[in-house]
């Protein structure tokens, strides 16, 4: 018996060849997934001259950081030639309040839907759940009209509010599913001792919530940072988030196409979520599967 209790198979040449084959395929797949990113990094370090004479995967003859400097501070997006710096900061200013508020509301909502159920709360939860799945095209026009009427059209404040509203369904779902697994007896015992709604939340539920808060914050940060649809519809000019600015930069047809600058800008725009993924991949995956599979 091997330690895992699998059927013991002798190491014949056939088995060894099979193992090598499996490893070969897996590594090949890894290369395939990594290649676009490597091409991005390589291209961003080349001069345009180098790009014109080389190929996608040829190494830069001379490494230059000029494309990065240009992407950050002086590339032309629309009529402005100040790089993506300002748009990057827009995204930061958008993500922080939107994530904090939607996570806090989600936690309290999830607490009610799991521990303070009332008649009809399950139906309300199901109806809210559908909000996770609607194609947002179906709310774009009324939202644009409404934001316009409240003087929030093309503003970052409006965009933050949109992200909070349509993030709520997801954050509520995350917290509710997490709190369902918390034993009801804990809450019941506290109620008998005279603890009220908020006391139980602060003293018992919230201290248990660290993992789900991490999952939710990561999920929301990635979703909102990466959003393009809301950004392109509800903001304009100087209030655009970085994804919209990147798209504008890449799709600018005037002048010589500077692929190295495009790639540097793309890496900058992707860096925050990539960092989150590298640092907290485990939690990222949990959010992904929780958000996708469970209802």
């Amino acid at each position: 018996m091997s330690d895992q209790g699998y059927v013991v198979t002798p190491k014949t040449p056939g088995i060894v060849a099979g193992r090598i084959f499996i490893y070969g395929l897996l590594v090949l797949a890894g290369v395939y997934f990594l290649l676009p990113f490597l091409v991005m990094v390589l291209t961003s370090l080349k001069s345009m001259e180098d790009i014109r004479t080389g190929t996608l995967i040829s190494l830069p003859r001379q490494i230059t950081l000029e494309p990065w400097r240009e992407a950050w501070g002086s590339a032309c997006i629309g009529v402005q030639c100040e790089g993506i710096r300002g748009y990057f900061m827009n995204s930061v200013r958008m993500v922080i309040p939107a994530v904090i508020i939607s996570t806090m509301l989600g936690a309290v909502n999830g607490y009610v839907f799991s521990k303070w159920r009332f008649k009809g709360s399950e139906i309300i939860f199901s109806l809210l759940l559908i909000g996770c799945f609607i194609p947002f095209q179906v709310i774009l026009l009324p939202m644009a009209i409404t934001l316009g009427r409240f003087g929030l059209a093309q503003s970052l404040t409006g965009l933050v509010m949109v992200h909070i509203v349509y993030g709520l369904a997801f954050t509520t779902l995350f917290f509710r599913n997490f709190y369902v697994a918390v034993p009801d007896d804990l809450v019941r015992a506290a109620r008998i001792d005279g603890a009220g709604f908020f006391t139980i939340f602060w003293r018992i539920i919230l201290p248990l919530s660290a993992p789900i808060i991490v999952v939710t914050v990561i999920w929301q940060t990635t979703q909102i940072w990466n959003d393009f649809l809301f950004g392109v519809v509800f903001t304009g000019g100087e209030t655009q988030p970085v994804t919209v600015a990147l798209n504008n930069l890449v799709n600018t047809s005037t002048g010589v196409k500077e692929y190295n600058v495009d790639m540097a800008a793309a890496i900058i725009a992707g860096a925050p979520t990539l960092m989150v993924y590298i640092v907290a991949g485990r939690y990222f995956l949990r959010g992904l599967t929780a958000g996708a599979v469970k209802g």
Partner: protein, 302 residues
């Protein structure tokens, strides 16, 4: 007297306690009612009016839908969605399943490989689309790479070829989402009882046979959720098209999502755009509602 006062006070706090959950929930309920359901109805209403640049709320029946169904570009977008949807869902599941099975063979570097397979999911489609746009570029991208490797007549112009442009969206989309499906299947594989596999192996079944006959059929639930999630992503696909092809050349790679955006926001045909949005909404609901229903039912049974 004193006892009575105390009793009344606890009665009041208890009353408040009973209402507190509903009070706390009310902003969300209100937001959901207005911004989800109210807005869907509002869009439905706009789609039944002759609204152009500005919303005009007079009933025009199904005029916009009739126009939509007579619109050639809408059919191109729908056909593209069918092509993209089938290939995207099928290929993601195929590659995701293969990778998951291979990774499940007690691989030493599993953690590192998983991280590599999944990183595209952390990135915006706009970022990865930018990379693919550069690689698929006919002049300097893959075509040039292969030509310089000695195949001088190699052509790969899908990005600018109106017959093939939709397939570039498939390439980039599959690359981005395969790792995710792999993760779903891997979780499914880890949930399978080892003793079944061992019993079958003792009975003399080969490993591929065990997978084909026992393991894969037992993951029906994972297949089901993958199809639902991926179709849902496919119908909503917008970013990737915008950055890769902008729907072009012409409108050859349009999808319903980009179609809706173009007509509602750049051509200012509100009613027409709203009608296309309603079509998307109904397509998504036709997939999601039965799914949610079955999910909630199985949950209740447990």
């Amino acid at each position: 007297m004193e006892v009575e006062g105390k009793a009344r006070r606890t009665g009041l706090t208890e009353h408040l306690q009973a209402w507190l959950p509903k009070i706390v929930l009310s902003p969300t309920i209100l937001a959901g009612a207005v911004f989800i359901y109210g807005f869907i109805l509002w869009t439905a209403w706009i789609s039944l009016t002759p609204s152009g640049l500005l919303p005009r709320y007079e009933f025009a029946g199904f005029e916009q839908y009739v126009k939509l169904f007579q619109n050639d570009r809408w059919w191109v977008a729908s056909r593209n969605l069918a092509i993209f949807g089938v290939l995207f869902v099928g290929l993601c599941i195929l590659f995701g399943l293969i990778l998951a099975i291979l990774l499940d063979q007690r691989i030493r570097i599993e953690g590192a490989l998983r991280t590599v397979y999944l990183y595209p999911m952390a990135l915006s489609f706009i970022v990865t689309g930018t990379a693919w746009r550069w690689m698929l570029n006919p002049a300097l991208g893959l075509e040039r790479l292969v030509r310089q490797a000695g195949f001088e007549t190699f052509t790969f112009d899908w990005l600018v070829n109106s017959k093939m442009s939709i397939y570039t969206i498939v390439i980039a989309g599959v690359w981005q989402s395969t790792g995710f499906v792999m993760a779903l299947f891997l979780a499914g594989l880890r949930g399978i009882d080892d003793s079944i596999i061992r019993a079958a192996q003792v009975d003399g079944a080969s490993l591929p046979r065990v997978y084909w006959r026992i393991i894969i059929p037992s993951m029906r639930a994972v297949f089901f959720s993958s199809v639902i999630i991926l179709s849902h992503i496919a119908i909503k696909s917008f970013d990737l098209v915008m950055v890769l092809t902008r729907g072009g050349p012409g409108y050859s790679s349009d999808l319903p999502a980009t179609f809706m955006y173009t007509f509602a926001f750049t051509r200012n045909r509100l009613g027409f755009g709203a009608a296309s949005a309603m079509m998307m909404f109904m397509a998504v609901m036709a997939i999601i509602v039965p799914y949610l229903y079955s999910e909630l039912r199985t949950q209740r049974r447990v």
